[in-house]
């Protein structure tokens, strides 16, 4: 019998890939699984065609749910899924549901959901908070989770896990398929998606291996190329040449500021590109982003300067050239971005890296090595976040209510909460009903009520607030930027705006803007006169070098130490490394380089573990704390992907500290939490937890002032909990998240194992070395002190 699906493929001039047929058959047998391949290799139709082969009545109730992490992907996904429906005359209603969905479609969906629905984890949570949720979601055959690799390492992934567990309980025959980029830990990715009690999942590899070319632009003269700073545009002429070579080019940057700077620089160099050069990042107004995405699809743009905002999904076939500004910092990210070009099966991908400072050349060479060695990063799933569990329990209380033991069983059917203890569960129930542990009773507190053993929420005001707070994305304290005439341009951080005076110019969304005033929490601007101005900085965390890439960098440095400079990048950076060797040293793999230098600012100590910024943050706190126990001392700390700086007003007793076990992996569990910095990090981490658990609230739309007296900053709440309720499990979670996710305790331990076996190379240097310079000029600083506060202030003000 001729399969209509095969016929449909043939009508488009395609032939199904073997992995696509494998997935259709597996679906037919009732199996679930994970499909991994780079983007643009046909994963979407591998997942979608299974249910289309089934017999159906004309327009059955909601049967296929398609979850995607980005709203921007929804429209494209909808379009791709609709094509075969139309051609095969399948009369299903197929719609999407996001925050952008029109009121008329919402109203229709209130009555009845379509047969296939494309949505995001947050919009799905809102649907599950409706009293009729169970009725609406009891006929599911298939859930597809797109870009699972993007979700799984985050609390949004856990939110998805909780939703899947709920839907699995209502639909025992339901199948779940994840679509993912290739990861270092695919088995864990599948287990996280399907839950701990699932049959062994089928992991399908999209079999179209794309060839990837990684090359780079190198500076002509290394002697004038900077040693530090990711914001420079030294490589502009070469980048412009590269853009000229392609038909449509994506220029990826690592931060939004970098994105704005490069857009401005390219436009200044090529004013004739006005209209075909565009900018795209997450803080821009959606309309502008849509315009850019449409232009890319249509091939009407020559070049788009963007951030990770264009990393995912959407198919931009016309793109034939990708440029990465600065180091990609990880192999998976490099591949993802490379895959944006030649976004069709069989067409090779190419990515060209343009370094912003000398050492990024080493990273590019190292990234190519790691890619060739198949060293692709893993994504670690989030374990047992109680903030999110509290939020989910309130959602379920709204969505029909629950009994404790039922919801507990359901929650334990997720990977994240498979080991949730009875005590933790009871704490979450107490938290949402009484506001805290069992011993507390506050008559004024109310949130979720328990009536005859059923947890539910009857207070309308609180219900509305919960619906507005669903999700895990914590917005920075950002402020809308609008023209005086009303049009919204995007958003920037409040503290950037607070430093502006009326009449000041700044550069945002690729435009010169004149700041006029702040009114009702909106920064009003008018078009500027092209005068140079500040560029906003967004506080988003800087990307850390992945451990795979860090390992490859250490190997490249080892080669350089032996005088081996292989490849264009290493030959280009050679003079800088030779300067390093001359002033100080290039460490061997089995050495740990420490540099000492004295400047006007005080005594600097530079230590180089080469493990990436994340691990260094923990190591810096640990080192500073261990040294500060020898004598009262205050450190100002900075770090980058290669090393750590400890700056003190007086000389640091480093030899004494090394002898006393500075590098010892022992006592890590006690020493890290004891370091003051870990406490400060937990305090910062609590911001996200407080927001997810509903302790802080961003306010109702258009009601900025009236909720003000209900606000306490997360930092203040953290201090109060630490002091009066230190057993609070959310506080414990903040510490745990810092240890495990931010400081990566296991990686920290491994690093110390390595360092403690290394030979110490202690160099007293006369001037900063190329390795130390980038850390020295970094203004982002932490502090660790063992001095009495008053003594410290007295010395500072002396």
């Amino acid at each position: 019998m001729p399969d209509p699906i095969n016929a449909w493929f043939a009508s488009r001039g395609w032939k199904p890939f073997r992995f696509q047929r494998e997935v259709w058959d597996a679906y037919g047998r009732g199996e679930s699984g994970l499909i991994h391949a780079s983007t643009g290799t046909g994963k979407t139709y591998a997942a979608w065609m299974g249910p289309l082969r089934e017999k159906t009545e004309a327009c059955p109730p909601l049967r296929v749910l398609w979850i995607t992490p980005l709203r921007a992907l929804v429209a494209d996904t909808e379009q791709a899924l609709r094509a075969p429906l139309r051609d095969l005359n399948i009369p299903w209603r197929m719609e999407s549901r996001t925050g952008d969905t029109k009121a008329s479609i919402r109203a229709k969906q209130e009555k009845r959901l379509p047969t296939a629905l494309v949505t995001t984890p947050e919009s799905l949570a809102l649907l599950l908070a409706r009293a009729d949720a169970r009725e609406n979601f009891s006929h599911l055959h298939l859930i597809v989770v797109d870009e699972w690799h993007e979700l799984m390492g985050s609390k949004r992934g856990v939110l998805t896990e909780l939703e899947l567990a709920r839907l699995r309980r209502w639909n025992p025959g339901m199948r779940t398929w994840g679509l993912s980029a290739t990861l270092g830990n695919l088995a864990t990715a599948a287990a996280t998606l399907l839950g701990p009690n699932a049959a062994p999942p089928r992991i399908v590899r999209g079999h179209v291996p794309k060839t990837v070319r990684i090359d780079s632009l190198v500076p002509e003269h290394m002697d004038r190329f900077p040693w530090a700073g990711h914001l420079g545009v030294k490589m502009l002429p070469q980048v412009i040449e590269a853009i000229e070579e392609g038909a449509t080019t994506l220029v990826f940057t690592n931060t939004r500021s970098q994105c704005e700077i490069w857009y401005q620089a390219i436009l200044e160099a090529r004013p004739d590109w006005a209209g075909v050069l565009a900018i795209h990042h997450g803080s821009l107004e959606r309309k502008q982003r849509d315009w850019v995405e449409d232009g890319l699809r249509a091939g009407s743009l020559r070049c788009v300067v963007c951030t990770s905002s264009l990393d995912l999904g959407v198919d931009f076939s016309p793109v034939d050239r990708v440029i990465q500004i600065g180091s990609p910092k990880g192999v998976a990210r490099l591949l993802q971005r490379a895959g944006r070009s030649g976004h069709r099966p069989g067409v090779p991908s190419r990515i060209t890296c343009a370094p912003t400072h000398a050492f990024e050349l080493v990273e590019v060479a190292a990234a190519r090595d790691a890619f060739q060695a198949g060293a692709i990063e893993s994504r670690l799933p989030v374990e047992r976040p109680l903030d999110l569990l509290a939020q989910h329990a309130v959602t379920v209380a709204l969505g029909g209510g629950f009994r404790s033991e039922e919801l507990l069983a359901e929650v334990r059917d997720t990977y994240a909460y498979r080991d949730l203890t009875d005590i933790e569960w009871q704490w979450v129930l107490d938290f949402i009903t009484r506001g805290g542990g069992a011993l507390r009773a506050y008559p004024e507190y109310q949130r979720v009520d328990v009536i005859d053993g059923v947890y539910q929420m009857s207070n309308k005001k609180l219900a509305r607030r919960h619906l507005l707070s669903i999700g895990t994305i914590v917005a920075d304290a950002s402020m809308d930027v609008r023209y005086i005439t009303g049009g919204r341009i995007g958003s920037v951080e409040e503290n950037f705006i607070s430093r502006l005076h009326p009449g000041d110019h700044f550069f945002f969304a690729g435009k010169s803007l004149e700041f006029v005033r702040v009114q009702n929490m909106v920064a009003q601007v008018r078009k500027g006169h092209g005068e140079p101005g500040a560029i906003p900085r967004w506080d988003g965390g800087r990307i850390s070098l992945s451990s795979e890439l860090a390992e490859a960098v250490r190997e490249r440095l080892e080669q350089a130490r032996r005088g081996v400079f292989q490849g264009k990048e290493m030959r280009s950076v050679r003079p800088v490394l030779e300067t390093q060797a001359e002033i100080s040293a290039i460490p061997r793999r089995d050495q740990f380089l420490i540099e000492r230098v004295r400047t006007r600012e005080g005594h600097h100590l530079f230590l180089y573990p080469f493990e990436g910024r994340l691990v260094h943050e923990g190591l810096a706190a640990l080192f500073a704390w261990r040294i500060s126990r020898l004598r009262p001392i205050t450190f100002s700390i900075a770090m980058n992907d290669y090393g750590i700086e400890l700056l003190a007003p007086d000389e640091t007793p480093i030899q004494e500290a090394l002898a006393a076990g500075l590098l010892s992996p022992a006592n890590l569990v006690e020493d890290i939490p004891a370091s003051l910095n870990a406490a400060e990090m937990a305090r910062r981490q609590f911001r996200e937890i407080a927001r997810i658990a509903g302790l802080t609230f961003n306010g109702y739309p258009g009601q900025n002032k009236s909720v003000k007296q209900l606000q306490a900053s997360a930092g203040l709440l953290f201090d109060v909990f630490m002091r009066y309720d230190s057993g609070n499990l959310l506080i414990e979670q903040a510490h745990r998240e810092v240890l495990e996710r931010q400081l990566e305790r296991s990686r920290l331990g491994q690093t110390l194992e390595r360092l403690s076996r290394s030979e110490i190379e202690l160099k007293d240097i006369q001037r900063p070395s190329p390795l130390s310079f980038p850390i020295l000029v970094d203004r982002t600083r932490h502090r660790v002190s063992s001095e009495k506060l008053a003594d410290r202030i007295r010395r500072m003000t002396a």
Binding site: G436, E444, Y445, L695, A712, R723, R781, R792, T797
Partner: protein, 213 residues
């Protein structure tokens, strides 16, 4: 630490209060009593305990100075929703242990919505300004023709920089030529980092000491 302000001697206490020995008067600002309860009433589960600690600090200030009178420069209670029994009991209990103290509240912006403290606390409440030469007691930290203003409202803090790229942000007392701004007495409220002029005097609270900066 004792300093001269508008020809008078004022003692700055690390308990976040100012003592005017000549009149036996202790000044505080922004106690925001009942803030945690306000949040709890709005489903934000803040633990209790802050009020008791703040009152213990007030007791310390009263006992070290042996003052006869307290003047609270506004924002006694945080919000109407925070008018709960637990908080009022703690306040009444404290009041019972200091029965002879005179207690004056110069109302601030929060007091207008939150209402005055209950009558049994025997806190006399009045609108600003209250003039006691050379000073004017008020909530808002703004200059007035009537004299040298003692005020609160801002919750001032100061950022201090030092060698080795160090910095610290501390609660502070802030004296301009015309206005003194007290730190918020409540330990459960935000702070505002000030940008003082060169002619201003600023004193930071570093744990149990007050230091000029």
């Amino acid at each position: 630490m004792t300093i001269a302000v508008a020809g008078e001697e004022l003692e700055l206490l690390p308990e976040r209060a100012v003592y005017w020995a000549k009149r036996g008067t202790l000044f505080l600002a922004d106690t925001h009593w009942g803030k945690a309860a306000t949040l709890r009433a709005n489903a934000i589960p803040v633990p209790a305990g802050g009020t008791a600690d703040d009152l213990a600090r007030l007791t310390r200030a009263v006992e070290t100075t042996n003052c006869r009178r307290i003047v609270l420069l506004g924002d006694a209670l945080h919000a109407r929703a925070g008018r709960v029994q637990r908080t009022f009991e703690a306040l009444a209990d404290w009041r019972a242990r200091h029965p002879t103290l005179e207690f004056l509240l110069v109302r601030g912006n929060h007091d207008k919505r939150a209402g005055d403290p209950p009558r049994e606390l025997r806190i006399r409440c009045t609108d600003a300004p209250v003039i006691e030469k050379p000073f004017v007691f008020q909530h808002q930290a703004r200059e007035t023709e009537l004299g040298y203003a003692l005020a609160g409202h801002l919750h001032p803090a100061v950022k201090i920089h030092g060698r080795g790229r160090q910095s610290a942000t501390l609660l502070c007392f802030w004296f301009t030529n015309r206005v003194a701004t007290l730190p918020a007495f409540s330990s459960f409220c935000g702070r505002f980092v000030i940008s003082p002029e060169a002619s201003d005097r600023v004193f930071a609270i570093a744990e149990d000491e007050v230091l000029p900066v």
